[in-house]
C-alpha cells in the first residue's frame, strides 16, 4: 500500500458495460489511485443489470476492508444493487452505501472526495450533493441558456490583480485563464485537490472551490477572468497557489 491508499472505493453500476467502464475512466482521470470498479451490462454483454456482476464488483471493491459507495444509473440498477446488499454478508454490507445521485456527476464528485481519503459518509454526501449542482428545472421554451461564463469587461484586455486582504480578513485576487480548455475537469480536480490540504474556504467567481462540479459549472474558458476569494488561516497561501496554478495554465500551455 502506498500512502495514497484511499479507504473508500466506488462501484459504478450501469445498464451498459461501456457506460460503467467509461464512467470509471472519467473518474479515474480525476482521482488517480482510488479503487473504482465497473459493473455494467448483463452477463452476456447486453444491456441490463446483472445481480452476479454487481455482487462480484462489491466483493472486489470491499476486499481488504475498504468501504464502498455505489453509484447507479437508472432505477433498476439501484434495485439490483439493493438486492445484492440484502443478500450479502452483513459485515460487508455494513461498509457499503448506495448513493442517490446522478450517475456521472455523482461518480466524479465521489471519486475526487475519496481521493482526499475522506470517510464513507463524506464520500456518500459528495455523491448525493452532485444533484444540487444542476439548476432548478427550467421551463421549456423560455429562451434561457446555460450558465453564463465569467468574462472580462467587453473590449478590454483581460486583467489580473494581485492579492489584497479585505477588512474582513478575506484575501481576494483575480487571475486570467491561459490554458486552451479553460476550467475543465482536469484543472477543476487539481484545484480541489490542492486546496484540500489548506485551511481555507475558497470561492472562484462565487462558486465553492472545494467542489469539482461547482467549478466546472462555471464553464470558464480561456481568457476568462477568475475572481478568487478566500477566508481562513491559510487564505493568503490558498489564493497565491491558486493564482499561480491559473497563470501556469495548469500545465496545459
Amino acid at each position: 500500500m502506498t500512502d495514497r491508499w484511499a479507504p473508500v472505493a466506488l462501484v459504478l453500476v450501469s445498464h451498459s458495460r461501456a457506460l460503467a467502464e467509461g464512467a470509471v475512466e472519467v473518474a479515474a482521470q480525476m482521482a488517480p489511485g482510488v479503487r473504482l470498479v465497473a459493473a455494467g451490462g448483463t452477463d452476456d454483454g447486453g444491456l441490463g443489470t446483472s445481480f452476479d456482476r454487481v455482487d462480484a464488483a462489491l466483493r472486489d471493491a470491499t476486499a481488504d476492508g475498504r468501504s464502498a459507495v455505489v453509484v447507479a444509473d437508472l432505477g433498476s440498477a439501484v434495485l439490483t444493487a439493493e438486492s445484492v446488499l440484502e443478500l450479502m454478508d452483513e459485515d460487508v454490507a455494513a461498509r457499503v452505501r448506495l448513493a442517490d445521485a446522478p450517475f456521472v456527476e455523482g461518480a466524479v464528485a465521489a471519486a475526487v472526495t475519496a481521493h482526499g481519503k475522506a470517510d464513507l459518509a463524506t464520500v456518500l454526501d459528495s455523491a448525493q450533493a452532485a444533484a444540487g449542482t444542476f439548476g432548478p428545472a427550467r421551463p421549456l421554451r423560455d429562451g434561457s441558456s446555460a450558465p453564463v461564463a465569467a468574462s472580462g469587461p467587453a473590449g478590454e484586455a483581460p486583467a489580473a490583480t494581485a492579492p489584497v486582504t479585505a477588512p474582513d480578513g478575506s484575501v481576494r485576487a483575480t487571475a486570467v485563464l491561459r490554458n486552451p480548455l479553460g476550467l475543465h475537469a482536469r484543472p477543476a480536480a487539481l484545484i480541489v485537490r490542492m486546496l484540500a490540504h489548506l485551511d481555507a474556504k475558497v470561492q472562484v467567481n462565487g462558486m465553492n472551490a472545494a467542489s469539482v462540479l461547482d467549478l466546472m459549472k462555471l464553464g470558464a474558458v480561456k481568457d476568462d477572468v477568475l475572481t478568487i476569494s478566500a477566508q481562513g488561516p491559510q487564505a493568503a497561501e490558498a489564493v497565491a497557489r491558486l493564482v499561480a496554478d491559473v497563470e501556469a495554465g495548469f500545465g496545459e500551455v
Binding site: 443489470t49 446483472s50 452476479d52 437508472l74 433498476s76 439490483t80 438486492s83
Partner: protein, 213 residues
Amino acid sequence: MTLDAAWAVDWVRRSAATVAEHRDELVELDRQIGDGDHGENLDRGFRAVVAKLDGLDAPPASVGDVLRLVATTLMSTVGGAAGPLYGTAYLRASKSGTATELGPDGVVALLEAALDGIVTRGRAGAGEKTMVDAWTPAVAAAVDAADHGAPPSAVLAAAARGAHDGAESTVPLVATKGRASYLGERSAGHLDPGARSSELILVAAAEAAAAAD
C-alpha cells in the same frame, strides 16, 4: 385441503409455461412504454428456474424451499427491474410461514409477503402504473375470500381475478414509477407489462391449486 411443495413446483412450471406462451405479448407491452425486454427477461428467468428444479437430487421439502429457489434464480437471471422485484417478492413469500403445507391463511400470508417485498424494493404505491396495481387487489381479494372461509384453491382463484382486474386498471394510468415514467402522459392507454405478468403468474398459481384439488 392444503397446498404443499408439489403444488408450488406445479405453480412454477405453469408460470414458466404461461410466461413463454405470452412472451411476445409481454415484449410488445414493454416496447410501448419501456425498453421492450420484459417478456424475454421473464422467459429466461423461468426457464432457468425450471432447469434448476429439474436438476435437483430430491424434490423440495416445502413450499418455502421452492419459493426461495425461484427467488434467487430470478434475481440472477432476470434483467431490468423485474429481477429484483420478483426476486424480493418470492424471497419474502418464502419466509412467510414455516409450515410445509398451506391452508387459506398461509396462502394469504404468502401473497401479502410477496406484495410487501415488491413495495419495499420498488417503493411504488397504488396507481403508479406498476405490478403493484395487480398485486394489491389480488391480495385484497385473497384476504376477503379467506375471511369468508374459502379453501386455498378458491383464495388463489380470487387473487387471480383481482390481479386481472388490477392489470386492466393500469391502462388509463400515467406512469409515475419505473422506466415508463419517463414517457409521462404517453404511457397512458397502455397496459403495464409488470401488472400483466403478475396476473399470468397468479393465474398459474390458481390453476395449479385447482389441479391439486
